[in-house]
Structure formats: structure tokens, C-alpha cells
Amino acid sequence: MAEQLLEQARDIFEGQIDFEGQKLVENLVNISLSIVGVRFYHNPLFQQTALTSPQAIAFLVGYFLQDIKLAVYIGLAGTAATFLLTVPPWPIYNKNPVKWLPVAGAAPPTNIVIDEKMLR
């Protein structure tokens, strides 16, 4: 019982996500934190969305309204939002779990159930 609880706690703490989710998070971090021209020029889609990223907004708004406090607040708020978006293992990042192949060779013994999920 205690082990189960520990296992659950570890899962929550680790917050693992699948490979597709990792790719998505990587892109999200880059877009949502970035400013135009930094780091993601390899993907044309991101070049467009990058214009709406908080840091770019922070600089542009600050420059055109000539208000540095506003720029700092927008930048920090955007960064906080990015952390919230990317750090927890949201279900959207676990949409494509890895499908393991069935164990090769002998069929699993039917009378012993080790782990229902692993053998399916």
C-alpha cells in the first residue's frame, strides 16, 4: 500500500510525457518565450507565431509606449504563463503513448499477472 502511494507520488512529481508531447513542449517553449529570429528559424510556422510571443510583445509594447515597467511586467507575466503551460504534464502531452511490442517467444503465462498494462 505504502509502495503504491510512493509510486503515485513519484509519477506526479516526475510528470513524464510521451515523445510527441516532448516535441510539442520544446516548440511551445521556444515560441512562447522567444523573440523574432532567435533559435527557431528552421520552421516557417514558428516565425509567424513568434511575433505574438510575450517577450517580443514586451519589447514592442514597451518601445512604442515608451514604458519600461510595462515591458518588464509583460515579459515576466509571459514567462510565468510559459512555465505554467510547459512544466506540468498536461494530458495533451500524453496523447501518443509508446506502444510496446508484445513480448517475443513464449506466450506469457496466463495464471500469473505481473502487470496488466505491460503485457497488453
Binding site: G15, E26, V29, Q55, Q66, A71, G75, T82, V87
Partner: protein
């Protein structure tokens, strides 16, 4: 990016990079805004040389210059969104007596002009802070800041010389200096020449004048106590 901890670290790591680039952009944006500081009037209105001591217990008698000056300058173009404060100061400068091409330079007056974004950092009385906030009117830049208007301003710091002799000094000039302190970026001082959109300070020097000889003793004593 497979676990929360790794995502936290990667996001934060990239955030530091992005923040640094934004800071660079902000400091570079300074070059886009023109700086055209001008001095309309910088002249002395009263000159006097007196004998006195540095403090009550000092045995050395030195000569002190008493200068009053009038300054009308417009430094408001130094304020952009990245300006934290401007330090403006007036120096008295005169060539060395030994004729060795050295210049004596002493600050006689200075002031800190805060931008509205740094009013809360200044060591102001509540009433002055209120007045500053009112003049800024919630905006990031206040055009009335940076307009210096002094009339018959007394010295803020005593003006003397290590030799103790100052009377009859020739070719003394007052000079206005400024130092722009940005939120991010490099400090910049008044320039001797134009630099892109940053123009040199115009008219920053007063006319050359000669400090007067010391007056008779009774009068000098009276003045010393005031100085």
C-alpha cells in the same frame, strides 16, 4: 523534456537567453532616439574670493571661491523609456598655474534628475514624490524633467585648491556635464562631438572669468562664516 524537472530547467535556461537578448535590444534602442541637449544660459552672477578653513579644527587657512551662477539648460531629450536617471553637474575648470598643460577641475554643483520610472528609488520627501508623480501623470517619460533653471545658484560644494591659493586665478570657466544612467546598457556622458543621433552638448561652457582678489580682512571674515 521528458520530466517536469527537465522541462523546468530547459524553460528557465531558455528564458535567461531570451531575457538577455531583450535587454540587448532595449539598450540598442537608445541609439534610435535623438539626444539634443542644449544650454541656453550658463553665466556667473557673483564672484568673490575669501579666506577660510576647511572645518573648525583645521589650522590651514585656504582661499575659497564664492560663485553664484545662472543656468538654463534643456536636457529633456536625454529621457527615453530606458533612462533611469540623469546626473547633471557643473564644474569649474581652469588651467594649472605651473603651465604644465594640466587642468584643474572641480564639481561645484550637481543634481540627480530621475525619470518617472525610477521616482520610487529616489530619496525624496513624500511631498516631492507626490509632485514628481503628478508631473509625470502616469507616463513613462515626462518632458518637464531635464529642464534645468537655476538663478543665482550658490555653490553646493566649497571650491578651493590644494595649494590653498585661488584668488586672481585667470581663465576659469564653468561647464555643464551630464551622465545618463539607463535601466539596461552603458552609462554615457556628455560628448565632445556628435555621434549619430546623439548630438554634442551645445553651449555647455560659460565665458572665461577671473576670480577676484581677496577683500579687506573684516569683510572676508564675515563672508567666511557664511560660506
Amino acid at each position: 523534456m521528458y520530466s517536469s524537472l527537465v522541462r523546468l530547467q530547459n524553460t528557465f535556461g531558455f528564458f535567461t537567453t531570451v531575457a538577455f537578448v531583450v535587454a540587448l535590444l532595449i539598450s540598442a534602442s537608445d541609439f534610435l532616439s535623438p539626444r539634443t541637449p542644449t544650454v541656453n544660459v550658463l553665466k556667473t552672477t557673483q564672484l568673490q574670493t575669501v579666506k577660510g578653513r576647511a572645518d573648525y579644527y583645521s589650522s590651514k587657512k585656504e582661499e575659497y571661491a564664492i560663485i553664484k551662477f545662472t543656468l538654463d539648460a534643456d536636457l529633456s531629450s536625454l529621457f527615453t523609456w530606458n533612462t533611469k536617471q540623469v546626473f547633471a553637474y557643473v564644474t569649474a575648470e581652469w588651467p594649472s598655474a605651473q603651465n604644465n598643460n594640466a587642468t584643474n577641475q572641480a564639481v561645484i554643483w550637481d543634481t540627480i534628475i530621475t525619470a518617472p520610472s525610477s521616482d520610487h528609488l529616489g530619496n525624496f520627501s513624500p511631498s516631492k514624490l507626490k509632485r514628481l508623480r503628478k508631473s509625470a501623470n502616469g507616463k513613462g517619460i515626462d518632458p518637464s524633467r531635464g529642464k534645468l533653471q537655476l538663478k543665482n545658484q550658490r555653490l553646493k560644494y566649497p571650491l578651493t585648491h590644494p595649494t590653498g591659493r585661488l584668488a586672481n586665478t585667470e581663465d576659469v570657466q564653468l561647464k555643464l556635464h551630464y551622465n545618463v544612467q539607463p535601466w539596461v546598457g552603458f552609462l554615457s556622458w556628455n560628448q565632445a562631438q556628435d555621434w549619430g543621433k546623439w548630438k554634442a552638448l551645445k553651449n555647455g561652457l560659460s565665458k572665461k572669468f577671473t576670480l577676484p582678489a581677496i577683500k579687506v580682512k573684516e569683510q572676508a571674515k564675515k563672508k567666511t562664516t557664511r560660506a
